[in-house]
Symmetry: C2
Subunit: 368 residues, 2 copies
């Protein structure tokens, strides 16, 4: 991985890569304040910073997952300003320092975040291919992700904006979908007809059986200049606002502190709708069976992780009897006893106790 050369021969490597191949800059979107995994995930410590799948946080795993890809630069992180030191610490802990950290005073969704990173790159006289990655998803099969990224590079270099999709394995109502327009080649690269929001179950079933849809993974790849060109055409208001925001940004070491007044003035929109759906240059590459999940609920987390023979996941100590298919997270050495329950989420942290049915765990967000 490129940035493994960081400590010693950074300059040499940089020169080498710039000369012989396009560099890929990971843009890690880490601004989520996810409450769907409450009480573990909170505004002060959202899920991307939690070690939910291993001893590494989801953010750390997102970065380490790129190990083995050619031409990848140090990552650029976009996060809420209050998570600055958290991001810094977590990146230091995996010995992959951030190339830059963009600190958002408020959330403005993904399009402005990516635009700022792209504009800053051009301002530096660079035009990298940006690999936009959510920081809080699970991907079990890294090799499949790498294959898709390596395919996407070809199209990104041709000037396309590539979305990564995931071939649906069930009629999931918790994900957005991307509808294919037309198949381009044998490598399964499709033009995009439209993005659709989370459907209801009947519609989700239609999507899956039609074969014309994939899940929207939130991962994208394109050259910085191409993205900005399309943003200017498709959502000129965001483009203009971001130019103004970037002008006001205060640079502090590798941190770019976004000014609140400027950023609030910027329209809030996702890259999906602000650019990808409107441009004629967009493509989608669906990834098959990569074990992808947005970990958008306790149920989804339970599905992602290794379970014991009764289907239980136990983090921390707990006494279980006749418990099945449940997720028990006991922080801070409380004494937790579960008895005769199925499909239940039990989370204790601090003075908080959550007991939820797995099927209903998506409702936490509404409840809070």
């Amino acid at each position: 991985m490129f940035y493994f050369g960081w400590e010693g021969g950074r300059i040499c490597f940089l020169v080498f890569w710039v000369l012989v191949m396009t560099s890929i800059t990971p843009v890690i979107l880490s601004g989520g304040s996810g409450t769907r995994l409450w009480p573990l995930s909170t505004q002060n410590l959202p899920k991307q910073f939690l070690p939910l799948l291993s001893d590494k946080s989801l953010l750390q795993e997102t970065i380490l997952r790129l190990s083995g890809l050619d031409g990848v630069t140090l990552p650029v992180i976009v996060c809420n300003e209050k998570h600055c030191s958290l991001v810094d610490e977590q990146l230091k802990a995996i010995a992959v320092p951030a190339q830059a950290i963009f600190l958002e005073p408020v959330g403005r969704n993904t399009a402005p975040a990516i635009a700022l990173v792209a504009m800053q790159a051009l301002a530096n006289g660079e035009d990298p291919i940006l690999l936009v990655l959510p920081s809080d998803h699970a991907i079990a099969d890294t090799a499949k992700l790498h294959r898709a990224i390596n395919l996407a590079i070809i199209y990104a270099e041709r000037g396309n904006l590539v979305a990564f999709g995931v071939t649906p394995t069930r009629a999931e109502t918790g994900y957005g979908y991307i509808k294919f327009a037309e198949c381009l080649d044998e490598n399964d690269v499709y033009e995009i007809e439209k993005f659709v929001e989370k459907p209801n179950l009947v519609i989700a079933e239609e999507y899956v059986t039609s074969g014309c849809y994939c899940w929207n993974s939130g991962m994208f790849m394109f050259r910085a200049s191409i993205f900005l060109q399309e943003l200017q055409i498709c959502s000129p208001d965001i483009y203009q606002a971001c130019h103004k925001v970037l002008a006001g940004v205060v640079k502090n070491d590798n941190c770019f502190v976004i000014q609140k007044e400027d950023f609030i003035a910027c329209p809030s929109d996702s890259i999906d709708y602000a650019v990808m759906e409107k441009t004629k240059n967009s493509l989608v590459i669906p990834i098959n069976e990569a074990g992808w999940s947005d970990i958008g609920s306790w149920q989804a987390l339970w599905e992602c992780v290794n379970k014991d023979i009764q289907g239980n996941v136990v983090i921390g100590d707990a006494v279980l009897h006749a418990v099945e298919n449940s997720y028990i997270h006991n922080s801070q050495n409380k004494k937790v006893v579960a008895l005769g329950v199925k499909d239940i989420i039990i989370v204790t942290i601090g003075d908080t106790v959550l007991v939820a049915h797995k099927d209903k765990s998506q409702k936490i967000k509404d409840l809070l």
Copy 2:
């Protein structure tokens, strides 16, 4: 109630009652160390001392439930020695001081406990009718209990040993049963054929449909001397051992401190098997629809108490969404959120969290 005369004219009342009628001495068996309502009920604070049905503890309710009965003396309590001050405080709080508190160093079941109280009464030159009551049961309909007690007095004065039964309303597998031998009179007083331990479901169903069984409430009534006479015949080893135990008891104010070495030497047995089943003088009076429960599990407690329209019981604060028929006990102001669960027991106390299905809540004892 007799002991309401305690403060002022105790002596006058005592003389009056002894002259004109038999006095009834409640013997409250409070030695249980119930763990079936763990984590609320613990060895240090067993369920009889907890305010589970109202703002009074079950012990306090047991005593106050006798209010309105004629001829009742101050109660005698039998409890574990470590609960001495707890008993004292709880009785003071309801302004009904104990006539005596027998402090057990270890549990020896009900027969020895009652024998010691009876022997002590005779040693004082008294021969009261003893009304033996468990301290940790629920009885919703006090009037029905009083009617049964007033009926039992007649038989107790005739020299019978009366057990109080409860007409079964379901095939309960958590209770012991009493089988009737022969009906005596129109008042539904029966001779006892046998006591049976907790049956399995098939047998319990046979019992209920046969009409020949009632639940064993653990309440009894008999004259002290008659009980001891029958104990001497039916279980002479207990009788002998208790005589020795009483000789060694150290009296301290109204407390009778039982010596451990003596009491360990006494056989452990229930009044049911040590006396009631063996004697030819025993009778049972079944009480109909008195709302009796031994509160032997969280499910049983849930059944006893008032529920909201969703069937939930919430003690302390909790946020519920799509929760039905559940019991939530949140001690000490934790933040408890329950979501999409049915028939669940959630108890938080100190650093302990219990989550159990109501149907399985009887298993807690095994689990601990």
